[in-house]
Subunit: 315 residues, 4 copies
């Protein structure tokens, strides 16, 4: 649990972790390379008839990923890529590019299925299948995880801990890294935030039933950088969730480049992969230098007793 | 009823109240600390499987509220927190923090149930249960109320008056405080406005079926401050409805801080709790110094007679 | 029909009308004073349980209209108010204020029912009922019309012409005034545009199933004024559709004031009521000084023959 | 397949085509002149009762197209118009204007029907019917195609190649022109992007079930020009999808004019029709000077084998 003692009056982040080399905050750029898995999941019976959206989504592994990696090389930073196992199998060259250039390849299900709609057995089956697919191509078992569509389940912590994962970024409970714990084990949580996702800013597509008005890169950057300036001012972690088919497009990747340049310019910002940050947090915890907040999962089992069946409806 | 006599040609607010100490307008910052009650209400049977959204919502009492209170202490202002009784029971430490620091704890149902979907008996039951939960933790019966999702019912005025409440902020009928009256009693209404809510600017969440494009804090502040400058210019009351899980996040609370600083800078703005404002209004009314507009509730009983069953459909 | 001869190379408006006194364009501010008719129409069976939205909507006639009229007096301009007959009956004092101050009171149905969902007989019944209600209060039969929700029907032209109406603003077929013609008569059409409506910018309300992100007054003004600058540059008519419950709120009416001031500043803009503009257009047409485009209505009768029953579905 | 060799470190576009005369990028302005076909398709049985939306849509061929063509003449550029065959039959004067002024008239179905909901036979029938309608009016068989609502089908490539088409712009798989290939033939693909469409910025209409918040022309231009500056910086093709009923309105066409002026100012931008660009690409490919990426279509046949019937649901 976080404490109230000893913190500075001016910081908005309680219990800040001391980042390495005097960095004021940590930054983790993450990309969900879903490719066209999501159109199959959304429309399993006629995804094959939706060619335009499929082409838009395959842009991710085919055009977006190599371009993102070039940019990372140019700026000398490492990113984290979440990849559903099936997408890795379909686009091994994109994964190899990630590996060869030193980026983290992390897990994102097998076919972008939603864990919280699965039984524990189903989730274990698909999580293992996705993990195996990644491991086979990268030669290294993934240790980081984001649940597809952030739909982390009541069993995910147990399953992930059992499979050797060390960190997750599906939850949104803090600005600091924290611990999530269940009977079967525990993970470092590097929390996500919807305002650091690129779908609400940019995605407009009827096949995906997601119809945002589409922001300019400049307007979207204002949203993302407001979060950065907040973390820079007050500590904490900035961890985004972008998608190669979307923010891997030229105009938007130019925005990403601008963002990275602004962050690098500061000089005291730690840009690293999720794995690197999670490892650092674990070391700090183990060494007793950081006492993180802990969330014991799951939060609930079944319907709230207060919500008796005859309770007034909510909608 | 408001009159047309004696008002200045330049003000847009008719029948302005004379605020204390020459203040040009009143400002009440209010927060609805719903915690995760709303996910249980929206999805009673599988809320337990929606961990990410639950974690996002629990951020409110766990991270947001202490941070908001720190900020209030830093700036020396008092806010009003609307809390469903169940949320108070689940997060008593957050409530204690509010009380200890002199903020108002007001009522927001028991489990965020919607009063206008309840019978009078059900609404009395849950309103009383919520009120008791708050009272038990704060040691003081709440006197202020906002209906969950603004869904004030035809019975709410009677029930609230009977339970000792003095003010409400669920309605949107004016820019000035006014009176709402029913057979069973009357309340001071400090009106809300949708444009002072943070959901339309910031909330994007599929579990909550609420998918806004997510504004930058700067763009949202333009909306909120336009309302402030309007009230500052013309009198009236600025009363917002923010949520700790949302605007209690660092980047947005920095926006709230900026807003408060801009208001404080003016020197002639009265920032107070809803209770303080309601008490002041009541005194002015009792002393005959302010003749407020009165809305007799409910507005209607049953279907409009003009809308006979065979009336043409509206959609 | 519009011709291509003789027009200036630089104007984007073909066949521009010559506005009076050398004005470069005409401006008609219109307000739909729907009051709470729309909540009854949307939810006939439980509108009485939706008090917050009802209070928000009644703000229109009670607070918005007097304020708008004060502003018009301050700036010396006349506006046009579309009022459903039932709303006039419910709020006669608002209508009397319009009349006393020289504004146009025009027709907007009886209970905001949608004409294009009615039979010809039903539409005649409700249109007549609405017209009678207005006439009774204003002492003058209305001559202008906007269909509720712009839902003009195949019978509206005939019915309106028969009842003595001279102009309409439910259609969107041009930038210039034009004629709409049917067997039973013809009307001057002063076209509307969705981008000059205030709902897409400002309305967010679950009871009305209309959930926009809510723009700042400044951002909305950019949309409205871009249309004005376009009309000022190229001729044509700027005719908006605002709502007293919405843009009659202080912050937004300050925006309206700014807009009017910017227009008045130009010196060569004709701000008038719809009736005045329609009368002028009719005179020009009668005098042979303006040959307007004509739309013969209705555009279609029944399903397109090309769309045979076995035609491929569109969705 | 695109290669990694020889490309500049600084460009984000791999395998850039060498545009003529040293141009840094190609720009193709395209307009979908759907007229009111889409309201008939959306509501085949009562489209005739939706007059306001019909008038809004007919503004496209009647007002928008002549104005767009005037603007093109003023600036000396040629655009591409996609026209459903039925719309050409209904509005031959608009088509003749396009032809007379040297613009490309390309194919967009017969009644805006969605190819991916048709059988191969149905699609052939309607595509041929649409093509014949265009040819009859223009005197030249169209060679370019955009599927209505981008809904390109698994059979489209075969059908289009068989009917003599040479290029398409329904897909979104790249920033460069590329090839799409099927058993029956191949086409040059000049890819579209949702962010270059005007519906997400401007369209708000209940009859069309499309309710965007409506951006100002300036805000929308920021989205469109960010894409242009990206292509100008890195190569590739900027190809938009605007609609005469929407961006043919004065305020928006003034935006289009500004955009074209900014592009023309550069001096090294190639603004051309889709046909001209596709021909150039074909020549470069034939001459071995450009090795384009190739997408073999369709991407899939039937349900993914991995998505067994008992696979966990995605929603």
């Amino acid at each position: 649990m976080f404490g109230f003692k000893g913190r500075s009056k001016v910081t908005m982040i309680k219990n800040p972790i001391k980042w390495p080399n005097g960095a004021r905050c940590a930054v983790v750029f993450t990309w969900d390379m879903d490719a066209d898995s999501i159109i199959h999941l959304a429309h399993p019976n006629d995804a094959d008839t939706r060619l335009s959206t499929t082409s838009m989504l395959r842009y991710g592994p085919q055009i977006g990923v190599p371009r993102i990696i070039d940019l990372c090389n140019e700026l000398g930073v490492k990113h984290t890529f979440f990849v559903p196992g099936w997408c890795a199998e379909q686009h091994p060259q994109a994964i190899e590019l990630m590996v060869k250039n030193g980026h983290e390849v992390a897990m994102h299900g097998y076919l972008h299925e939603y864990p919280n709609l699965l039984t524990r057995e189903q989730e274990m089956f698909w999580t293992k299948k996705g993990t195996d697919a990644i491991t086979k191509i990268t030669g290294k078992a993934p240790v980081g995880y984001r649940a597809p569509w952030y739909r982390y389940s009541k069993h995910s912590t147990d399953i992930l801990a059992q499979l050797g994962f060390t960190w997750d970024t599906s939850l949104m409970g803090d600005d600091n890294p924290y611990l999530i714990r269940q009977a079967g084990g525990e993970l470092i949580e590097l929390p996500s935030r919807w305002q650091l996702d690129d779908w609400p800013q940019f995605v407009h597509n009827h096949d995906l039933d997601f119809m945002m008005p589409i922001a300019s890169p400049q307007c979207a950057m204002d949203v993302y950088m407001a979060e950065f300036y907040a973390m820079y001012e007050h500590g904490g972690i900035w961890l985004n969730c972008f998608h190669p088919f979307c923010s891997g497009q030229v105009a938007r990747l130019m925005m990403v480049k601008q963002m990275m340049l602004k962050m690098l310019e500061k000089g005291d910002v730690w840009i690293a992969t999720g794995e690197q940050v999670a490892n650092y947090v674990r070391e700090q915890v183990t060494a007793g230098k950081y006492v993180p907040r802990v969330d014991d999962l799951p939060f609930y089992e079944g319907r709230l007793p207060e919500l008796a069946e005859n309770y007034a409806p909510g909608n």
